[in-house]
């Protein structure tokens, strides 16, 4: 619970920062462009500060939260950013092939035949959908440009 509460405080803190930055920026804009954003950002700033202050005042120490199972969310989130970076470097098809194989193995699925077939078939279907259905250029990545 404690860890969860700290993360929420961070999110509220970032909200205060973002709304404060937006509020500050509005003073450099013409009146018509600044008016509504100024009202909204001030409102969000005030509410977030109120909520954060209440949480900091009322927060008691509590035992650490136990992860229920599966991947840690932050590890998975890092994996998503890693996948994005891999798409930029190696292109969508290769990155997807590797990602679709890596996640089941990471979670503990070790039947290589299933993982390989799943990865190949899904990548092929996605590539075909991009090329022929959506007619969208497939990102080729820095390596294959």
């Amino acid at each position: 619970m404690r860890r969860s509460a700290d993360l929420e405080n961070w999110v509220l803190g970032l909200t205060i920062l973002a709304s404060g930055a937006m509020l500050y920026q509005t003073f450099f804009y013409p009146p018509v462009a600044a008016q509504f954003p100024r009202l909204v950002s001030a409102f969000v700033f005030a509410l977030s500060a109120y909520l954060l202050a209440g949480r900091l005042r009322g927060q008691a120490s509590s035992p650490r939260a136990k992860r229920e199972g599966g991947l840690a969310w932050w590890a998975f989130a890092l994996g998503l950013f890693g996948y994005f970076a891999l798409v930029l470097v190696a292109g969508f098809l290769l990155a997807t092939l590797l990602f679709l194989a890596a996640i089941p193995v990471w979670v503990g699925r070790t039947r290589w035949v299933t993982v390989t077939v799943y990865s190949l078939v899904t990548t092929a279907l996605l590539g075909a959908a991009m090329r022929w259905v959506l007619q969208v250029p497939i990102p080729s990545g820095l390596l294959f440009r």
């Binding site: 994005f84 996640i103 007619q135």
Partner: protein, 496 residues
């Protein structure tokens, strides 16, 4: 016009997407914990390439089928498929435990068909009245109606009103990035060209609803399902059982329509209210929770009626009734159509869409009747295979609309943010509503100020606006009024 609308809706292309949307919706609906919002959000990028009528019909088919398919996990696994199927667990799963899973699915199917048809009738009858009302209101009233929709969604977040308001404000803040709607002055871009084109709604919605859900499924460590009941008995018997209870059908249908039309009160409220009303009206209250057919029929009927009723304020006023209908709004805006009176002036389009919605109800009924027991097998797909597929589908969806790789990065950011916020009870739907309404709200706000000579008091001097503002203030205060009233009543009693 209705005949032309039917002919357009029955075109082979539209029928193809009607069927595809229904099958996809049933597949997504059968997955535990994944609801209509995910189903619609995941296919929203695809609709950009489709004609407007096909796009809306496709999304309506997904919406209706996912909401219906949500009951499969509720009945077989005692795990709600979505927020709208919570009450289906209470009598649906006990029926499955008694070896009547097929009958339970049939009751759900029959109730969903009736609810969907009744909801459609209300859509057709009430829409013209609301459009007439919409033509009578101007920028001042529109500004307050949009603020009211945002506040109602925040209030409906069950005790997390302040969090809902913060997120609604965040959504509005995100909508401010880029050119302002009045003069086109570039704002909050930090010198980045990517931000000069306004924030694209598709990566945001994909991230908040689809990717966040994938993160949740990945971290739940699922895969092995201990006990699943198979639907070996006949689904059609359940449909017949549903239609033997006309009073339950009508009562629940009306509840669903009323809650659907009101912004922010969606299927999550409708199914529970209908269940409680049915239980209170029954002469066999003690059998509720133990496999009472009416206890399953009522929430399923109300849910389907609400799904269609939700579309009424979306199409007529341009005010989404829920997060899912906010996505419909986004789909219309992607095709250059402003929902509201303008939508009803687009020739045969509104009629084709309404006919498509009617066909969607019949289509999911047919496929549900024939294929429900097969779609039930979907719940056995392990998360280790499901999650990467959802992630790559989201990548595809975020990239496909603008061929902009940084839309994918935006989606990941909102996906992680959405996951963190949802785990801590924040209603992320408010972000989407703020983002969708932002530009319209700001434009109307400025027009309202022009009408009022630059004074904010114009929102109080216009009578309709003043009444709506009073409703807004009361709705925001309502979570606190109850406890305050109870405290005031207790104080005189104590003194005595």
């Amino acid at each position: 016009m209705w005949l032309q609308g039917f002919l357009v809706a029955l075109s082979p292309y539209n029928l193809l997407f009607l069927v595809l949307g229904t099958l996809y919706g049933l597949f997504i609906g059968a997955l535990p914990g994944v609801g209509p919002t995910f189903g619609v959000a995941s296919m929203l990028p695809l609709t950009y390439a489709l004609p407007t009528d096909t796009a809306i019909i496709f999304l309506c088919a997904i919406h209706a089928a996912t909401a219906y398919g949500d009951s499969i996990a509720s009945i077989l696994l005692n795990t709600p498929g979505g927020a709208g199927s919570v009450a289906a667990c209470w009598d649906g799963h006990p029926l499955a435990r008694q070896g009547k899973a097929g009958m339970a699915l049939g009751i759900s199917t029959g109730g969903a068909l009736f609810g969907g048809l009744v909801g459609w009738v209300s859509l057709v009858l009430i829409s013209p009245l609301l459009v007439t009302l919409a033509l009578m209101i101007g920028p001042v009233e529109y500004t307050v109606v949009a603020l009211l929709a945002l506040s109602l969604l925040a209030v409906a977040a069950q005790g997390e009103t302040i969090k809902g308001l913060i997120l609604g404000g965040m959504g509005l803040m995100v909508s401010f990035i880029g050119p302002d709607p009045v003069n086109g002055f570039m704002r909050f871009t930090c010198g980045l060209m990517y931000l000069e084109d306004t924030i694209n709604i598709i990566p945001v919605t994909l991230g908040l609803f689809a990717l966040a859900q994938a993160i949740k499924l990945a971290t739940e460590g699922g895969g092995a399902i201990a006990e699943v009941f198979s639907a070996a008995d006949r689904v059609i018997d359940g449909v017949k059982e549903a239609f033997r209870r006309p009073l339950t059908l009508i009562r629940s249908g009306i509840i669903g329509i009323l809650l659907g039309i009101m912004p922010a009160l969606g299927i999550s409220t409708a199914n529970i209210v209908a269940y409680l009303v049915e239980k209170r009206s029954s002469r066999e209250q003690e059998t509720f929770g133990k496999g009472n057919a009416a206890g399953l029929l009522a929430p399923e009927t109300a849910k389907s009626a609400c799904v269609v009723g939700d579309l009424v304020p979306t199409f007529t006023l341009g005010i989404p009734g829920s997060a899912t209908t906010a996505l419909f709004l986004a789909a219309l805006m992607l095709h250059g159509i402003t929902p509201g009176p303008e939508f009803f002036q687009k020739g045969v389009l509104p009629y084709a869409v309404f006919c498509g919605i009617l066909l969607a109800q019949v289509t999911f009924f047919f496929f549900g009747l024939v294929l429900a027991r097969y779609f039930a097998k979907v719940i056995r797909i392990p998360n280790s295979l499901l999650v990467p597929s959802i992630v790559t589908l989201c990548f595809l969806g975020a990239y496909a609309q603008r061929n902009e790789i940084y839309d994918v990065l935006l989606m990941i950011f909102f996906g992680v943010l959405g996951y963190i916020l949802q785990r801590r009870g924040y209603p992320v739907a408010c972000i989407v509503l703020g983002l969708v309404l932002g530009q319209m709200l700001e434009g109307n706000f400025h027009r309202a100020l022009i009408i009022g000579d630059g004074k904010l008091s114009v929102f109080l001097t216009e009578p309709i606006s003043a009444v709506l503002l009073l409703v807004l203030v009361l709705s925001l205060a309502s979570p606190y009024l109850g406890p305050l009233w109870r405290r005031l009543r207790r104080s005189p009693a104590k003194e005595a």
